[in-house]
Subunit: 226 residues, 2 copies
């Protein structure tokens, strides 16, 4: 596996920006990627404003990808395949691509509290079908509230189920530990993303019914963790 | 909706027996149902041993159903349709049937940490397709550890996502409150059982990877509840 900054593609969106803020606050090197350089640069500026001394750059998606060890895909589900096809040539063996997309039915104009079916089984498995050989795909971060990520003063209070091959999975579990209140949970094989992604739709429904604009999270009880 | 005891069909199994113990400990009237009267009577005897003064009867499934207000289906997924067809004539409008089955792949000889697809979308929706008109179907209790239910000395520490029509759903949320540590969560429409049922497969995988024989549970953070 490769070293280098954490690239966050779609890092100008709410959830991507939240992760960028948190990883920068933990002292990590972050490359915010966007389709347009200007938006990426503006998002990096925003991060530096909130996290003085942040090591963050705003780059076009391909350039952010090329220098990263871990590439987090934080784009709406319907842009997943297009984004991957655009950066495919910039990915290299040993890199980890983190899928955090969820096939919410809002992608086809229906409600975000429902899912659409993905032929490959999940967004993460779609991503795995599109990356070059030797690139590891890990599923994580789907259920973390953007609002809570961006609110740096408070811990996030959410478990992150991380699934994929063993070693890349362990590395992404390590990234979770950088964010106060976030706990990485060993989610086993990548296909479990089918379940984890659907939990997001459930949480969106709960947010609506309980009127929790900050976002409801999930914790697993009885997990023997440090 | 109807009053009467809580019937637990398949109440001789681990999870059904656990619920029977807990509801009896809370002073509720319980009818344990089984395909064979002898096994139901033995399970009721076991409950009375652990909960002195328990109001519990052991009955054949149909007889347990006929007198109940709420009928909890606690049979392995592969016996769901068969059990329902056998008791269909004993169900009456106003009763609530609670589906707690999960279409685990173990039903077809594969692993319990994976799911099989159900044409109707979920076990709960299969149940809804099989009950007579006027019988309400609610999905609940899938993710509650049998071991923790049976260990009466400790609270269960698990949220129960309850989905289905509004009024029956509220009634089942009320049942959750009878069990220390169990919290009923408003899970919206019945189709959300698709997500909630699959969480069971995820928890089974977590139990294996983390070697937690008592069973890992789930909690939602940030839910504004009493």
């Amino acid at each position: 596996m490769r070293d280098g900054p954490i690239a966050i593609l779609g890092g100008t969106g709410d959830q991507g920006l939240g992760l960028a803020l948190r990883f920068c606050a933990a002292g990590r090197d972050v490359a915010i990627g966007s389709r347009t350089l200007e938006r990426a640069v503006a998002a990096a500026e925003e991060v530096r404003k909130q996290v003085p001394g942040a090591k963050v750059a705003g780059l076009e998606n391909g350039d952010a990808t090329a220098r990263a060890g871990v590439v987090i895909l934080s784009v709406p589900f319907e842009h997943t395949a297009g984004t991957l096809k655009a950066i495919r040539e910039r990915l290299a063996p040993g890199q980890i691509v983190v899928s955090m997309g969820v096939p919410l039915a809002s992608a086809v104009g229906d409600a975000a509290s429902r899912m659409i079916g993905v032929w490959q089984g999940s967004c993460a498995e779609l991503v795995a079908a599109l990356v070059p050989d030797g690139v590891h795909v890990v599923s994580a971060f789907q259920n973390v509230s953007a609002h809570r990520l961006q609110h740096l003063a408070d811990p996030v209070e959410c478990d992150v189920v991380v699934s994929g091959e063993k070693e890349p999975r362990a590395r992404v579990i390590g990234l979770c530990a950088l964010v106060p209140g976030l706990r990485g949970i060993d989610g086993g094989p990548l296909a479990n993303a089918r379940i984890v992604e659907s939990i997001t739709a459930l949480l969106i429904g709960l947010n609506i019914r309980y009127r929790v604009s900050e976002g409801i999270g999930v914790r697993f009880t009885g997990v023997p963790l440090p």
